[in-house]
Symmetry: C3
Subunit: 314 residues, 3 copies
């Protein structure tokens, strides 16, 4: 991936965490950690992107991720344009590339791209002009690098910087999940001691994604002694596609309950990228319980996005 790194090793785009040097990844985590600490006192407004226009270019709706990037950009004093490509020129038959080129010509320097197709952000980055930066906010099943970073930051805050002793369990629809792929990239780069992946066989990929991971469909067994449980969202489409029998059945086999969580280490933490289907992936008791870091993830998301925007654009 030399597309995202320039010859000096600086990030030009952020498309995936796959292959990103550990040093680069840790520098982003450090920066986000500092920003977060500074912000804890009171909302801070920085001037680092004053006069820089950033566009959230979403070809797939996601109000949450968009809001997180929007807030991050505002905190850096950037000007933000929301371009909802599902209700715009896209309907007039314009290609994603033409849309980007036009906004680039208007002076937009940073694009936050969400797209349903694998590789869409990379394709746009390849065509982007000199001073333009593309940040992948999720493409197909491939990557969601800022989610991977914020999950890594959340784990690091909870468990320390040494990942070599950690046992982490990822649970659910890994097959269709860009979150899982970016989490796996980050966990491997950070040298996680043991990565386990659990889900019904129909929702686990068989293409090398899980190389080096212990995999299985027995949630109770996989939970034994883990330090962190990273739950994935179950899209309701999976039932319509026949990959999951029913929500009740899914919950019975892969729902994280307080009882089940006791199989993990006593100080195990629980993550979920949201939005949660309460009562499906996680019970209310666990989602709102003391081991849940769900809202911490959301806070870290803004800090990570500030760090990424600042690193790439200022």
């Amino acid at each position: 991936m030399t597309l995202q790194l320039d010859s000096d090793g600086h990030l030009r785009h952020l498309l995936t965490l796959e292959g990103l040097p550990k040093e680069t990844l840790c520098r982003l985590l450090d920066r986000a950690g500092q920003i977060r600490d500074a912000a804890l006192g009171r909302a801070h407004k920085r001037n680092s992107l004053l006069g820089t226009t950033i566009c959230t270019l979403f070809f797939e709706p996601s109000t949450r991720t968009r809001s997180s990037f929007h807030i991050a950009a505002q905190r850096l004093s950037a000007d933000v344009i929301n371009f909802d490509a599902s209700t715009s020129s896209a309907r007039k038959g314009e290609t994603a590339l033409d849309t980007l080129k036009n906004l680039e010509a208007m002076g937009v320097r940073g694009f936050i791209v969400r797209h349903p197709e694998d590789g869409a952000a990379e394709a746009l980055a390849m065509q982007a002009g000199e001073g333009t930066t593309v940040i992948n906010a999720g493409d197909g099943r491939s990557a969601h690098p800022t989610q991977g970073l914020l999950d890594a930051l959340t784990l690091r805050q909870a468990k320390g910087a040494d990942f070599s002793k950690l046992k982490v369990l990822i649970v659910g629809d890994v097959k269709h999940s860009r979150v899982a792929r970016s989490d796996l990239h980050a966990l491997r780069t950070l040298g996680t001691g043991e990565i386990r992946v659990c889900g019904p066989a129909s929702l686990l990929p068989d293409d090398g994604t899980l190389e080096g991971c212990a995999t299985g469909d027995d949630f109770d067994a996989m939970l034994e002694g883990v330090d962190a449980v990273m739950m994935l969202r179950l899209q309701r489409e999976r039932m319509e596609e026949g990959l999951v029998a029913s929500l009740d059945d899914y919950h019975a086999r892969y729902g994280l309950t307080a009882g089940r969580l006791r199989r993990a280490a006593g100080d195990a933490v629980v993550l979920h990228p949201g939005p949660i289907n309460r009562g499906v992936e996680i019970t209310d008791e666990v989602a709102d319980g003391p081991q849940s870091l769900v809202l911490r993830q959301v806070s870290n998301g803004v800090a990570i996005r500030m760090a990424v925007l600042e690193s790439l654009l200022s």
Copy 2:
């Protein structure tokens, strides 16, 4: 309502005008009046909310109210996020509370909430974190406190601060109107001399809302000698529900015409929360005539919202 007042009597949330101490209410009116006078010269930008992120969280569409709050927040240099909950994660099954908690975790400190259900803003305020403020921008039929405040400010500017001599008539669909309820709360707290309420029996509430008001369905009779006529918007649903025979019939009985207005005091003023159904609630002649304060209400709306945001968040 201790939820909206802290132990020192400071406003923490603004959920309803019911039970709000007269002193608190008048302080907001005073502040809004000052802001408005200052703004009359030229648009002013204040820095009081610089670095504060505010979210308009609307579970029911209302471009006007949203714009008014948005402009008010911008004038105070706040960062604003529009979260349209009808086209967002709400569709993914996320609860209103989860949405608020997530945005709170992103650093949003003020929520402007519009919701179709009674008590929704209060329910969110009860769950909101320490430094978070909820402002009710209309919930069900219950309350629309900033509308009540702006109507009170408009009346006070026109008629002076002593409400004890005033005769005020509220006309229309009081039963389904949060505007009417907040107006009644404000008028009572300000010690209005006489409050009359007029509308077809099918559109008047029979639950104590109108306690202490003179009520009736004869518009001409009720108009005699009043100092202010507060017209309500008629939602077209009322016809489909069979509560109103037809728009023509409604206009014939409850439409404010120039002829009818002559029954009121010579210097009577006319208010309407907008958007007006011209030719239904009011004729063009009255809506655009010298006694109409409709646009003054809109201007006061921005001033009131600036005063509220500044009081609660800075």
Copy 3:
């Protein structure tokens, strides 16, 4: 058009380029040229509209034009409100005038209006208050003055300020095009040597719009020796209306290919207002080729809109 010029010859509104004095038009082009040069180094933020609220009031969707104005306004530090009138109070039966009057009462000083009906922007300007400015961002088939200005700026940058020697060809659906009308107004005012118009008879107006232009339906013949080709977008509705047989047929007769372009002067330039129907009006080879100024037009669009907003509002 005294509505848009005050008695001192200053622009108060920008509704059309028709009848706009050459001096006024050139002053806007000069200003935009300066802004563009200054912006080439790095994005600049100016303070000229700090504290001024501007509203994009679109009764017809157009994400591109709206984004261009939005970015222009942000660069001048204005506060911007997007009012999408197709999903708002307009649905509640409010008239365009009531919407404008309400936003004006909220303190909006500049309105960027897009409307499907001819004369809509002018009608609003006639009713606007003292300190309010209306900028037409496209009304019906009548006018799109900022597009006319940006096209003129683009031509001037490429061909110099003396238009008297230029041969310019406009191609396509002139009949339904506000872009073509504003281009014609600008080209005439700037004293263009020869204006040619080419398209199928069904898409050329017969109402005096083309007075003084050489017209015809033979694209190859009309292309001979021209210095600039201004292509128009073909709306797909034209086929449904039977005005065009098919996209393939249209492309065969009026599509600009590299081969055809060789009939024009060797240094001829190609313009298109976008979004391009690639393979219909223009081939990829031409659209992305060295003679295409399409993206330059987009950049100039922001500069022109900054110049217009600054001239009219600061």
